[in-house]
Amino acid sequence: MLLRLENVDTYYGQIHILQDVSLEVNDGELVCLLGGNASGKSTTLKTIIGIVRPRRGAVRFDGEEVNDRPPSYRIGRGMAIVPENRRLFAPMTVKENLEMGAYLHGGGAQEDFERVYSLFPLLYERRKQLAGTLSGGEQQMAAMGRALMSRPKLLLMDEPSMGLAPILVERNFEIIKEVHESGVAILVVEQNANVSLSIADRGYVLQTGRIVLSGAASSLIKDEDLRKAYLGR
């Protein structure tokens, strides 16, 4: 068991966001977390990476409870995140962005760069370009490359298809699949149910802060309840 959330409750001030959320990601698994707007998807990721702390419940990573650990500790243990909207450092070059991803490893070893560049040759071409001048699809690659620089065991992705053209969304998920096949476990948060379930092993569906459905991706994709819970019809 790589990641395990046990009955997690997260609050923003007085507002109860996550209610009794339990989920798990095994080694080398690709899990997707679906849900509509304001269903708590991003908050789940923030709780996992440590930007917000749960009020009750436990976050276990790699067999260790990390509830009170800051993000840097969790990243050191093998988490990495591609934040929502990518959040690259716009006035820094692509290479500097990658170096930021490997902050804990002193800015990245040669092999880290080679690994990322061979996965995204385009980033090599653009490495001296400012990240803010990249197009949406390129930024998504740069953000993934940046996250992979810290040699993660678990990659958290927050809405990777946001703001991308449909053809790029598909391409993007092919890349995610490729990263997954290289041995990284991935937890991807998405609104786009069809595309993400088509590559995932398992899926969870969140609705107003509760897990309402879970199961193998192949069964979820055919599930009538999913349509009801998620599409509202």
Binding site: Y103, E114, S118, Y124, G136
Partner: protein
């Protein structure tokens, strides 16, 4: 789809990537026309400023440092004592101060309005340790490290507020810190209102509003720095060391993390950057730099006075950093040169005249494209002036009777070009008013109309200059001109002289 690939773009873009399995397929993703266009724009960047920037970027770092510092190194040998102080020493002290602020504001992006207080603390602390006022005379090689460490620690304390306060809120708190400092030094003279300190009772620490006087000159390992030239070189060497250090810091892991923190603290945090520790580090470095500059300033002035460390100086230093380009090391030095040098130059009317016409011509050349347009306007203005002058001398002899004082060859030439009535007061006043109206009208015109209207406007501007502004050159005009100069520079380079253009992710 393949537009972005294989473009002949300059700036040494990469050699082909290590051959991946399906490179042709994969590299197409995300390369769209916008990116290709953006790259072409960069490669095609023409004009004077673009060329200068490109050449500058190609020079290796030591060369750039030498080009920036070279003139400073020669300066003491070609100028007088007074000029060395006004243009040289003060500029370098400003540059040191601005470099320190650049760490806090430019690198780490923390809006610190209390920065100047550390400059003051440096001067006062040195004064307390080595002056006739306090009665102690510590060696500078002991006093300076003490000052640097204590201002650094003080910066650390103030920096703690940045853990919870951001942006405007941090600005308010730090500004209060500066005000608290000014009020403290104004009152800590052991007088009636002063504190009674533990163990020692009432002590005259700062001399109150009269300042702390008789500060010792630097006594470094028994060698006394007494001349302006001596301080100049001491400060210049400090500047070189600081610039070199900052250059390496900027390229280091910490420097990158600071910039990441400035752009997006949350993203930096999830890249495992210790955000709070880096904020403190920035505050500490900045404060220590300011404290160090303060000891030099205190020793040079041989005194520390409360009025020197107030909001006015803060604005000047911010102007330097913004003008030079936030986060740019070389830019800050140029910024200091402009912000300190320009108003000093403008004190004499001959200098001011050259600067006035120079900036006008330069602004035209830079702002108008293509190149022949400003040339037409300039030639047109010159011809227009001679024509007006010729007509006026025939029909209104009083209108050309005035003289230009101390303009040399250039001034005598101007006498044949610009109208110089004998009694200028009221007519120049009206002309000033007309000039403002003309400038407003100009903004509403376009194309050839604007070009034509520019000619009489420019002539009117030089008329107003020669008949009204030049007389008050050491007063209000100086500040008006400085303001105009800053506006022109910031218009040409919106992110500062050496700043990199802001790129927003949208």
């Amino acid at each position: 789809m393949t537009l972005g690939r294989g473009q002949p773009s300059e700036g040494g873009l990469p050699a082909p990537a290590p051959e991946p399995v399906d490179a042709a397929d994969r590299t197409r993703v995300g390369v769209d026309e916008w990116v290709a266009e953006a790259e072409q724009r960069r490669a095609a960047q023409t004009g004077l400023s673009g060329m200068v920037v490109r050449v500058w970027e190609r020079i290796p770092a030591p060369g750039r440092l030498a080009i920036l510092i070279g003139p400073f190194a020669i300066f003491p040998f070609i100028t007088s004592q007074g000029n060395l102080y006004r243009y040289g020493l003060i500029t370098i002290i400003y540059a040191l101060l601005a470099l320190g602020l650049n760490i806090v504001v430019g690198f780490a992006g923390l809006l610190d309005l209390g920065y100047v207080a550390f400059f003051g603390v440096g001067a006062y602390l040195y004064g307390i340790m080595a002056s006739g006022h306090s009665g102690h005379h510590l060696q500078a090689e002991i006093a300076i490290p003490i000052v640097v460490v204590s201002t650094g620690l003080l910066g650390l304390l103030l920096g703690l507020t940045s853990w919870r306060l951001l942006g405007d809120y941090l600005a308010i708190v730090t500004l209060f810190f500066l005000q608290a400092f000014v009020i403290f030094v104004n009152n800590a003279n052991g007088g009636l209102n002063d504190f009674s300190y533990p163990f020692v009772g009432k002590v005259d620490l700062t001399g109150g509003a009269n300042g702390l006087d008789q500060i010792d000159p630097f006594n470094l390992f028994g060698y006394h720095i007494t001349t302006t030239k001596g301080y100049y070189f001491f400060t210049l060497i400090s500047l070189i060391l600081l610039m070199t250090m900052l250059y390496f810091v900027n390229g280091s892991r910490t420097g990158r993390a600071w910039r990441a923190l400035r752009e997006d603290p949350l993203a930096a945090e999830v890249m495992s950057v210790p955000v709070n520790r880096l904020k403190l580090l920035a505050f500490m470095f900045g404060a220590a730099t300011a404290g160090f500059s303060g000891t030099i300033y205190g020793a040079v002035q041989s005194g520390a006075f409360p009025g020197d460390y107030d909001v006015g100086l803060l604005i000047t230093i911010y102007a330097i950093v913004i003008l030079g380009g936030l986060g740019s090391i070389g830019g800050v030095v140029i910024g200091a040169l402009v912000v300190n040098g320009a108003p000093e130059l403008l004190r004499s009317s001959a200098n001011a005249r050259f600067l006035f016409y120079g900036v006008l011509v330069l602004a035209l050349l830079v702002a108008m494209k293509p190149w022949y347009k400003p040339v037409i306007v300039l030639l047109g203005t010159i011809a227009f002036g001679f024509a007006v002058h010729g007509i006026a001398s025939a029909v209104w002899s009083r209108g050309t009777a005035g003289h230009i004082e101390g303009g040399g060859q250039f001034g005598r030439g101007l006498e044949h070009w610009v109208l110089l009535p004998r009694h200028t007061q009221s007519i120049a006043g009206w002309a000033y008013f007309a000039l403002i109206v003309a400038a407003l009208v100009l903004t509403m015109l376009h194309g050839w109309q604007r070009l034509l209207a520019l000619i009489p406007t420019l002539y009117l501007a030089s008329f107003v200059w020669e008949n009204k502004l030049v007389e008050q050159v050491s007063g209000a005009t100086r500040l008006i001109l400085l303001g105009a100069l800053l506006v022109v520079i910031m218009n040409v380079r919106p992110s500062g002289i050496f700043g990199t253009a802001r790129v927003e992710i949208v």
